[in-house]
Amino acid sequence: MARAVTGIAPTPAGRYRRLARLSLLALLPVLAWSVISTGRRYLDAAALHGGGADGWRDHAIVALGVDTARSSAVDVLVVGLVHLLPVLVLTIIAGGVWERVFAVARGRPFDPAYLVYAVLFTLLCHPAVPLGQALFGLSFGLVFAYAVFGGAGRTFLNPALVGVVAMQVSFPGALTDHPLWTGLAGHGGTTLLDAYHREGMAAFAWSGIDWGGAILGRAQGLMGETALPAILVGGAILVAARLASIRIIAGAVIGIVLGSLVANAVGNGMADGGLATLPWHWHLVLGGAAFGVVFLATDPSASTTTNAGRWIQGILTGLLVVLLRVATPAHADAVYPAILMVSMLAPLIDHGVVAHNIRRRHTGHAH
């Protein structure tokens, strides 16, 4: 029997390639902004510190002629690229090797869709991440959360996230330690969340960070999580391409707002409320909340697949982000474990939605 013809739509493989290209395109604004914000944050810290630290990146920066005392726009770019490029090149090459190994072993074509996860992983690294740790984390994520399941579209957790978590478990300081920034005034640890937990709003003032500054990426953090406008542009691309569900994103924002309102109600009455007193509009812009919700929680292969499930997943993610942040303020940002946990629950959430749909069908109602 003739195959049904469905009009002028591109071929399935073409649609798939287009989706892979669009998810990569959505990451470009974040990549670009992370170069700028990493460079600026390094130079800000170096100015406070009276010079760079003693790592190979710092030597490279000096060798490239950057004057940390009087930095120009070019210096910002150079410093940013010195931090981003080595990690990016390493993850792309190492990821390509793993993809090639599995393609040959499985007798399937080489699928460049892994690039999305290599870039995501890079953006989830600290600017000064040791390259050995990055290589380990990326390999773990791409092999055990991606390639063994058959590659793109067949995973159930985000491979980049799994890689970062494996890296953090194996090297506890991987997401927080930076020889230059750790110990600087106001940059205790590297997260403002931790600083706020200890000092309250005063910590933000010492760090010279206001809410607008946090939006523009002046706060310390991982390479990708500091550029809210770029994240929003990338998110718009993903939503327009129907790769990311606006329901998950909206649900997560609702969850974060609701969670922090409840936490505030409890925390503001306590003498030492810590992170429980952080207002919701700070929760949204600090740490990895925006980056995680837009790029990780919405991964179509690692999230719920029903519209009702997407709302539930989003709200759960938001609530869990606030809960984990308040409960474990001394640890690295709780956004990533929260997303990973809800991602594991996604099949269960879908199961509930499907069971409801089936029940209604059997009672004979149209809806």
């Binding site: 013809v5 798939y16 179509p300 089936i358």
Partner: protein, 423 residues
């Protein structure tokens, strides 16, 4: 969804959220209508899934207009008849001796047998007339999309008097040529099936002039897939839970039934549209049902490189080779740009993108259903509502999904298996 109205029965209306369609321009109107003679007509086996045919003619036999060509092997009362008189030119068989198509070449034919229509036909008379004239094969059941058994009775009958497929002829214009036929056909269906006959119309379209109180107009608003009977059936007679049966029949077949009851002969022509980017001047053609595509487009300027498709661009069938005939429910020929519908062997993974939910038939959870179809889990597909669907309902999902699967074909396999295992 249901709004009160001034009549005895409340007026019914359904709002459909349309899906994006390829921009192919406006459909041709009645002013472009021309009559075209068909030198070859055919009956396609693929139009009747689940049916096994007894071929009751041989190649070379003369056949009168309306003469019986095929019978349903398990229910020989169901006859498939010739739309034109002539000679049986080909009986094409496929795998395991299934019937692919049977073709008739038109020439001097014996006169048609007259069908005797009683003065006031009762349910049994109409049923017999439909079976003998071949009009019974215009009915399709939900669930399963099969031909109804000769003695079956549905819970409701659905007639789509609107067509939202791109470039399709406007049923309102076709009905307006013979409104009496359409009204008589609707009345006959209500008498024969003894249940509600829902006549689905577009907003602003006049309600049919049927006299039987069981004929109820339903206004279906919105874009495609508003015209698909599955959408109306989902809202008015949901069959997915099992136990209920709905029948669907196209409005031109209803007109044919009306003429049969009024004049003793069914209307054996159909109004089809020819359009698409490869056609110089799109037009409507009145041509014998099941006419060969080459006959329908004869004399028109069509890009030789275009891909000819019977049916709409949203869900059509490649029209190539000697078996290219208009199908049972196909009222258009679309000339798509070269390469459209080309097969692609690469099977990519199914990414559950958010547009799947928008393109999904009402009440169906897209990603779980597509996964059940891809892995061949009939039990799960049934629980998720496969019984509400036929192939055309999944066309939009096949076009949008990254997996490269023809979900309509997979659904057909599931439905046949569910039916075999006793529903």
């Amino acid at each position: 969804m249901r709004s009160p109205a001034d009549g005895a029965a409340p007026a019914l209306s359904i709002a459909v959220r349309g899906v994006p369609l390829p921009a192919l321009g406006a459909a041709p109107g009645l002013d472009t209508l021309r009559a075209q003679a068909a030198s070859r007509v055919g009956v396609l086996g693929a139009d009747f899934p689940g049916t096994r045919f007894d071929v009751v003619v041989d190649e070379g036999d003369p056949v009168a207009p309306g003469g019986v060509l095929l019978r349903d092997r398990r229910h020989p009362d169901i006859a498939f008849t010739a739309a034109i008189g002539g000679t049986v030119s080909r009986v094409q068989r496929g795998a395991r001796r299934s019937l692919q198509w049977i073709a008739i070449r038109g020439d001097d034919a014996p006169a048609a047998d007259e069908l005797k229509v009683p003065e006031r036909p009762g349910p049994g008379d109409i049923r017999r007339l439909m079976l003998e004239s071949g009009l019974w094969t215009a009915i399709r059941t939900r669930p399963y999309g099969y031909l109804p058994l000769p003695d079956a009775s549905p819970d409701a009958v659905f007639v789509a008097a609107l067509d939202t497929r791109p470039l399709a002829p406007d049923p309102a214009q076709v009905i307006a040529r013979q409104p009496g036929w359409f009204a008589a056909g609707l009345d006959a269906l209500a008498i024969m099936a003894q249940c509600t006959v829902y006549c689905c119309v577009a907003p602003g379209q006049p309600a049919p002039a049927a006299t039987d109180s069981r004929v109820r107009p339903v206004t279906v608003s919105g874009g495609h897939p508003a015209c698909l009977p599955g959408v109306s059936i989902h809202h008015l007679c949901p069959v997915g839970g099992g136990g209920r049966t709905a029948w669907e029949i196209t409005c031109q077949d209803v007109m044919s039934l009306g003429r049969l009851l009024r004049e003793g002969i069914p209307w054996r022509e159909r109004v089809v549209s020819v359009g698409g980017p490869g056609v110089a001047s799109p037009c409507l053609v009145e041509v014998a049902q099941g006419a060969a595509v080459a006959d329908v487009v004869a004399g028109m300027t069509i890009d030789p490189a275009a891909t000819l498709v019977t049916g709409a661009a949203t869900h059509g069938r490649l029209a190539a080779g000697p078996g290219a005939f208009l199908g049972q429910r196909q009222f258009q020929i679309t000339a798509l740009p070269p390469g459209a519908g080309a097969d692609d062997d690469t099977i990519a993974p199914l990414l559950p993108t958010t547009d799947l939910d928008r393109l999904s038939p009402p009440g169906i959870l897209a990603a779980p259903m597509l996964r059940a179809l891809l892995v061949g889990d009939a039990e799960r597909a049934r629980a998720l509502g496969a019984l509400e669907l036929v192939e055309e309902d999944l066309a939009a999902l096949s076009a949008a999904s990254s997996a490269g699967a023809d979900y309509g074909a997979l659904l057909r396999i599931m439905l046949d298996r569910i039916s075999r295992e006793g529903g």
